[in-house]
């Protein structure tokens, strides 16, 4: 059985944003922190939520899911350069995802939902730009690994 449809799309997002100009390494959700001196810049890509809004009376039902993906650009720097770095990372991701990604043989469009920033001082200033993208994905209820 293939991966869940929301994972197929997540992986397509990861592929699309790998190798962008920032040189950021792309990760799934991580348990342990990225090390400021050696592992940044980086992107985290994960599914934040998945909701079904279909009202299908057929069996198996057509699941109409709105999946919310978060792409977190993480970087560290000195002085005030971190702000520019994170904005550049946000720009390259938005541009990269402006066209549909291909997942499970289907074209899936991602809708940009905005972003938030967070910064914190340390030996290097670390910051994150948390970008939200939403995708409308369809699948048959009995095959959550196949996009319809």
């Amino acid at each position: 059985m293939a991966d869940h449809v929301r994972v197929l799309v997540r992986d397509a997002i990861m592929t699309r944003i790998t190798g962008l100009a920032s040189g950021a390494v792309v990760h799934k959700r991580r348990v342990y922190p990225l090390q400021a001196d050696t592992e940044l810049p980086a992107y985290h890509v994960h599914v934040e939520s998945d909701s079904n809004e279909s009202s299908d009376i057929h069996a198996p039902a057509l699941v109409e899911r709105m999946v919310e993906y978060h792409i977190e650009g993480v970087a560290a720097g000195v002085d005030d350069s971190i702000d520019d770095t994170l904005n550049a990372m946000g720009k390259e991701v938005e541009a990269a995802l402006a066209t549909a990604v291909t997942a499970g043989g289907k074209q899936v469009f991602l809708i940009y939902g905005g972003c938030t920033f967070d910064f914190e001082d340390g030996a290097k200033r670390a910051g994150v730009v948390d970008m939200v993208f939403r995708a409308l994905i369809f699948n048959s209820a009995n095959t959550p690994d196949v996009l319809s």
Partner: protein, 96 residues
């Protein structure tokens, strides 16, 4: 009358104390240095939080923005926070 002897407080490790030698404004000065582990931005980044305590008579208000080198690493002094009676200051550091 009580008078502070800060020289004792800032005795270098090599002489049995707790202080490190640092280079500040072209001179070698004694500071108490700490670089504890720090998790930043909701635990996404692992880093350190370097800080040094020094004599307020050496690290004047104008110290903020200047560099302090400790053990071969150069830091920029980001804050100067007087401690207790003001004879010492805690400085938050950032790598240059």
């Amino acid at each position: 009358m009580y008078s502070e002897d800060l020289a004792v407080f800032f005795t270098l490790k090599e002489n049995g104390g707790l202080a490190e030698p640092g280079v500040y404004d072209g001179a070698t000065v004694a500071v108490l240095f700490d670089a504890a582990y720090l998790e930043q931005v909701d635990g996404m980044v692992g880093n350190t939080e370097p800080a040094a305590t020094g004599m307020a008579s050496i690290f004047l208000v104008s110290a903020v923005g200047k560099t302090l080198a400790i053990d071969g690493v150069t830091y920029r002094i980001r804050t100067r926070e007087p401690q207790d009676d003001g004879a010492t200051v805690l400085m938050r550091l950032e790598k240059t």
